[in-house]
Symmetry: C2
Subunit: 150 residues, 2 copies
């Protein structure tokens, strides 16, 4: 998708997009974990080394948050009001130094019950690392206004 | 659930828990949005007033992140390694000044394909505000080690 999409009726099912990239550094990983996911393997190198991951890893919620930032700043969609997320899966660990980007595909347009003014655009997204490995996948349900009549 | 749960085999299906509470302030809402969801209605009062929400609102991903913090700091589960989230829904807006807590219920124990050492505990969770309104719901899939034999 090249242009910025504004109205429900404009979203082409099957269209794909890709965002810019963001490299996570250790400070961002640890600061996010301190605020929102203070588990030892997100905070401390030694605890990470002892954990099932074998190293300090980023919170999966940081991967989700960075994916959202990449989507918003890509400007592909004018307004990203989500009603919810389906099938979010964390497939592989994300570590400081990893470079993430998001690849998306419009998979379905759905009516929004109770509203004729907006619809739900379902977008399947994968967050990939610098080795093109999918680290997270999700289907976002985005509430998008229909084109005003006239 | 009173005690801290450590092993898959200990999780009682049907058991419920509730976390402590966290009050969001405007600075936290705006700082999170600047970092991870820089849409105008999350950043600026005037833009919030003009938006579909009618006021500055918190990012739904902040609600998810705060819910994670409340879960981790509640100490109910020893290690919260998630494989994914199902059916995440944002039901109502969250604004600065709102006080959130999480109510959870163990709904299912599942085998983890390819591993006999861990299983998946499925936990249905609701994030509520100070008026007992559900602002977010989700089903978390948590990877929990089985009790070592012997």
């Amino acid at each position: 998708m090249e242009q910025q999409l504004q109205y429900f009726d404009e979203f082409p099912v099957g269209a794909t997009f890709e965002t810019a990239r963001h490299t996570l550094d250790r400070a961002e990983c640890v600061a996010f974990a301190q605020a929102y996911d203070p588990q030892p393997f997100h905070l401390d190198d030694a605890a990470g080394a002892r954990s099932v991951f074998g190293t300090l890893v980023a919170s999966g919620w940081l991967t989700a948050a960075v994916s959202m930032r990449l989507l918003v700043t890509s400007g592909t969609v004018r307004s990203l009001v989500g009603t919810g997320i389906d099938d979010l899966r964390w497939h592989a660990v994300v570590k400081p130094g990893d470079t993430l980007r998001v690849r998306g595909k419009v998979v379905e347009l759905r009516d929004w019950p109770g509203s004729t003014r907006s619809g739900i655009v379902r977008v399947a997204m994968e967050t990939l690392n610098q080795d093109d490995r999918v680290v997270m996948s999700q289907i976002a349900n985005v509430l998008v206004p229909r084109r005003p009549p006239g």
